[in-house]
């Protein structure tokens, strides 16, 4: 039992030892108490309330009848309670002829779910090579991939878009004529590719941190049993790195679902995600706050569910980046 107090004489009997331990615990308790003093608690509560009120206000608004919302503040609900779900129905069905908010909700799902898998698979392959295959220039290559975060995705948008739509022509020769997907009913290919690429530098870095920490004995044992890199990757690394994969998956899901910029640039108009529809509808709804409120909550319900359901993984994923990076 280590103690925090200065001990001049070595402790002879167990009773003294226990006494010292008890004192130590008392000191610890005091230290805790003082750190979380009343002033601190009140300050924390004020911050917490300040942080919650904006969301709460809009949440309440989304359930109030339209007429009430337009004439009185949301806080009057406490004196004059009335609730309705009409706002949600109206919001889901509003939108242009091409796309309602409800449809763009499905688009968001169709964009986000595949991207999470693409990014994880491609990044974990490279992360594995960096961690467990020896080759010349490995460290430099690893740092180079991380450093690619230096390229703001804004810088990559326009050339990548023109590569997708017009292809690559050198001189008079066309090597890649571009994708011809504008007239499809729902085409997400370009958005998938763009999101996957932009996720890679960070994904490789975070997954590498985890994969390289796996004990080398485990991998040596598999090699002795005759497994090649393919089997080791699939049957050992993937299960062992599951927590890291899960946490990055959650992060990536929330980022892609919440993205506005990449989708605005790459998605054809029939395949726009929720964020984009919400953004443009919010202009046409103008001051109809009951619709804006309902629309907003339709868009944040999925990330919030993911957040509450998988909070543990979410936090771990962030910390993996933080403590190492």
């Amino acid at each position: 039992m280590s103690t925090g107090v200065d001990i001049i004489e070595p402790i002879a009997d167990t009773r003294t030892a226990r006494q010292v331990a008890r004192d130590t615990r008392k000191h610890e308790a005091m230290a805790r108490k003082r750190l979380t003093s009343r002033g601190a608690t009140i300050a924390a509560l004020i911050i917490a309330i300040f942080w919650t009120i904006p969301t709460f206000g809009l949440f309440v608004t989304s359930f109030r009848p339209g007429a009430d919302v337009q004439s009185t503040g949301w806080w009057t609900i406490f004196t004059n309670p009335s609730f309705t779900l009409d706002n949600y129905e109206q919001a889901l069905n509003s939108g242009g002829t091409a796309l309602t908010l409800g449809e763009s909700f499905l688009n968001s799902l169709a964009i986000t779910i595949p991207v999470v898998f693409f990014a994880l698979a491609v990044a974990s392959l490279l992360a594995y090579a960096f961690a467990w295959i020896d080759f010349k220039g490995r460290n430099i290559a690893f740092v180079a991939v991380f450093a690619l975060q230096i390229v703001p995705l804004q810088m990559a948008l326009v050339p990548l878009l023109s590569l997708f739509s017009r292809g690559l022509t050198i001189g008079d020769v066309t090597i890649f004529p571009g994708f011809d997907l504008r007239d499809m009913t729902h085409s997400f290919a370009t958005v998938w590719i763009a999101h996957t690429i932009f996720a890679l530098p960070l994904a490789v870095f975070l997954l590498h941190n985890f994969i390289s920490e796996i004990p080398s004995e485990v991998i040596e044992a598999a090699r002795v049993d005759g497994a090649g890199h393919g089997q080791i990757f699939f049957r050992m690394i993937l299960p062992l790195a599951a927590p890291a994969l899960a946490s990055f998956a959650v992060l990536e899901f929330i980022w892609v679902w919440n993205d506005l910029l990449v989708a605005t640039i790459f998605a054809p108009s029939s395949s726009l995600p929720l964020t984009q529809s919400l953004n443009s509808l919010s202009g046409t709804w103008g001051n109809k706050w009951f619709l804006q409120a309902a629309g907003t909550f339709i868009s944040i319900i999925v990330p919030l569910l993911v957040f509450f359901g998988l909070q543990r993984f979410f936090v771990r994923g962030l910390l993996a980046g933080a403590t190492k990076g």
Partner: protein
């Protein structure tokens, strides 16, 4: 982390096992020669390709291509597309892993597998892109030369045949995506920034002059700088204060979730939530901020139109609101990692809570604070959504990332847009370089 435990069992193939060490030098010289010859051939084919006479041609493919697959997929229902594309992608990754697994094994069968794969994969990859007929010969030539060189170099490699083959398969998907999607576009944007609107005429530094002289440009630069100075500072200070206040308090978990939740909300959602807070109208106020102002007898204010800077600061509030949770979670974990003995020792020495925080906790979480500040700062530099949703860049609230999309989409002015992107790149650079230095230090320690 290092090279010690990763050495693979060498000499899997009978051939390299027979080779004495003395032959290593001439062998690597031959390898270099092969690489050089292959490179020369590829460059030559490329030059011939550029010098092609123009003639009428159309795309060719081997019956199917990426484009035809995406077109077919594009006609399915959104939700049906998810499983289909995942199964196809899974199959491709599966084949890749099978090749990785079997390729390095010794034996005749595996030799043939490698040989076929080396030629088939590049050819298939190029054909899936539907090259035009006049490019076909050269493209196939390049694919065959690359495949051949790769096979030979791999076959002769010191670690045994198949070693480099599997390495290339592991790294190729990510490497190709990064080169095509980040490296090439970054260079293209840089070049574009010296050309005019249409991208045809060279204009030198004109676009940069525009950025730093026109109001749209200067405001976006000034605002971005203010964002990057103010947002990380506030997010970190509030996050740290909150983390310290609730450390070991009752209901700590719940209190954390309250602050962290906005991080899961999109900037679009956050923008609308706060636009409602700032709402302004005649008569009864709906927005809580103006309601409070009028409660105390003030006149309601159209907050997002107040210049100078007030409206920009109000946008920053939204960003800080969203990012403080991130700062708090990371800092809270770091605080818990500080050994409690240090705090106790300081307490016994008579240090008060503030002194302990200042002299024990803060130095203990220094690296976490650095991480939080750089992460939030990079986020602030790239901010787009909040401005787009809340003000659309009006009333001098524009920032670099927003203005560049604005220039490109509204004004079709690619030169200006590219110059703004390059300026943004220059702003991000020191932060990433700093991070890279930190990582290199850590890797040396390990």
């Amino acid at each position: 982390m290092t090279d010690t435990h990763t050495a693979p069992p060498r000499q899997r193939s009978a051939k390299s096992a027979k080779q004495p060490a003395a032959q290593a030098a001439p062998q690597s010289r031959t390898n270099a020669l092969i690489a050089v010859v292959a490179a020369i051939l590829v460059v030559a084919l490329f030059l011939f390709l550029i010098l092609q006479q123009p003639r009428e041609t159309k795309p060719t493919s081997i019956g199917f291509s990426l484009n035809s697959f995406f077109r077919w997929l594009g006609n399915q229902n959104q939700l049906v597309q998810i499983p289909i594309v995942l199964v196809v992608f899974g199959a491709v990754v599966g084949i890749l892993l099978l090749l990785i697994e079997y390729a390095p094994r010794p034996g005749k069968l595996y030799f043939w597998i490698r040989l076929v794969a080396c030629f088939a994969l590049p050819v298939l990859a190029f054909m899936l892109l539907r090259p035009y007929q006049n490019a076909l010969l050269y493209v196939l030539g390049i694919a065959v030369v690359l495949g051949g060189a790769m096979f030979l170099l791999d076959y002769r490699s010191r670690e045994g045949a198949g070693y480099h083959f599997q390495l290339v398969l592991f790294a190729a998907p990510a490497a190709i995506l990064l080169l095509v999607g980040l490296v090439y576009p970054a260079i293209a944007t840089f070049v574009q920034s010296f050309f005019d609107k249409t991208g045809k005429d060279f204009v030198g530094m004109d676009n940069y002059v525009w950025v730093f002289t026109q109001p749209e440009g200067t405001w976006s630069v000034i605002n971005t700088l203010i964002w990057v100075l103010i947002a990380p500072a506030f997010a970190t200070v509030i996050g740290l204060a909150y983390a310290v206040f609730i450390d070991r308090a009752a209901g700590e978990k719940f209190l954390k979730v309250l602050i962290f939740m906005p991080f899961a909300i999109s900037f679009v959602g956050a923008g609308i939530i706060w636009k409602f807070v700032y709402d302004y109208r005649q008569g009864d106020q709906l927005g809580i901020l103006n309601a409070i102002v009028t409660l105390f007898g003030g006149e309601p204010v159209s907050w997002l139109a107040v210049t100078p800077l007030v409206n920009s600061l109000l946008l920053m509030v939204v960003f800080i609101w969203s990012q403080t949770g991130l700062a708090m979670v990371i800092l809270s974990a770091a605080i818990k990692a500080v050994p409690p003995e240090q705090n106790e020792a300081a307490e016994l020495d008579g240090a008060n809570a503030w002194q302990r925080f200042r002299n024990v906790t803060v130095p203990g979480i220094r690296s976490a604070i650095v991480v939080v500040i750089t992460t939030v700062a990079i986020g602030a530099l790239k901010i787009y959504d909040i401005v787009a949703v809340m003000t659309g860049g009006r009333a001098n609230t524009s920032v670099l990332a927003f203005e560049m999309v604005n220039q490109q989409q509204r004004f079709q002015s690619y030169g200006h847009s590219a110059a703004l992107a390059v300026v943004l790149f220059l702003f991000v650079t020191p932060l990433i370089v700093f991070n890279v230095i930190q990582i290199r230090k850590q890797r040396e320690i390990r």
